[in-house]
Symmetry: C2
Subunit: 113 residues, 2 copies
DNA sequence: CAGCATCCAACACGATACTG
DNA sequence: CAGTATCGTGTTGGATGCTG
């Protein structure tokens, strides 16, 4: 790593750009997060439905990514006190605000791949 | 991995969404790609300028990510037949078309972190 | 039903040294 | 100036089996 030069004024706008983007990419960048978020855009889904809607994901990864999305405040986990257990996942307002961005990413990908 | 059920019609729109997004995220998702792309939005930059504009990156990673961006057609590498050598990097049209999307990602990140 | 625990492989990324 | 080469590490994610 090179030494950082104090006269090197990489300006504030650039750092904020990097920073904001890193945050967003970390939030949606997991291997299965886009798939999960997209499935949830049309409403609440039960764990088993979500799982069956993304057949390629292992349960381990599904749960891990759901937990991260929850921790980042993008989805809400709703546990019903029933037997057998029922758990549903739903986008939060923050999560919903990502929808147009996900759409943009998808559109760009479809057009350019 | 669960066995894929042939009656499980995960519909075509969903698969295209995932697919397009995966493609886009792979294109911009590298650790330093957003930083590189952003630096290039205002025009051609020389290798050493780019390097000094992102002091945290090692040369190894910078070159690797530049090569991938080039392979994906987002940037163009221009080598001048001079001594000492000079190399410049520039966004392609495809790369430029990402700018508004990067801006969205940055804005969302700034607002929500 | 909705997970968790364990083990393991692949890869991304960093540090450091060297070069056409 | 603009890179390569080599080595080492931490994280990501997959396979498999078990559980409140």
């Amino acid at each position: 790593m090179r030494k950082e030069n104090s006269t090197n004024t990489l300006n504030k706008r650039q750092m904020e750009m990097d920073c904001g983007m890193s945050y967003t990419l970390a939030a949606i960048g997991g291997r299965w997060k886009p798939a999960i978020l997209w499935r949830l855009t049309h409403g609440k889904l039960r764990y088993s439905v979500l799982r069956d809607a993304i057949p390629q994901v292992t349960e381990r990864m599904l749960v891990l990514q759901l937990r991260e999305l929850e921790k980042d405040g993008l989805i809400k986990r709703i546990v019903y006190a029933e037997v057998p257990p029922r758990v549903e996942y739903e986008l939060t307002a923050k999560g919903k605000s990502l929808t147009p961005i996900l759409q943009n990413l998808s559109d760009w990908g479809e057009k350019n791949r």
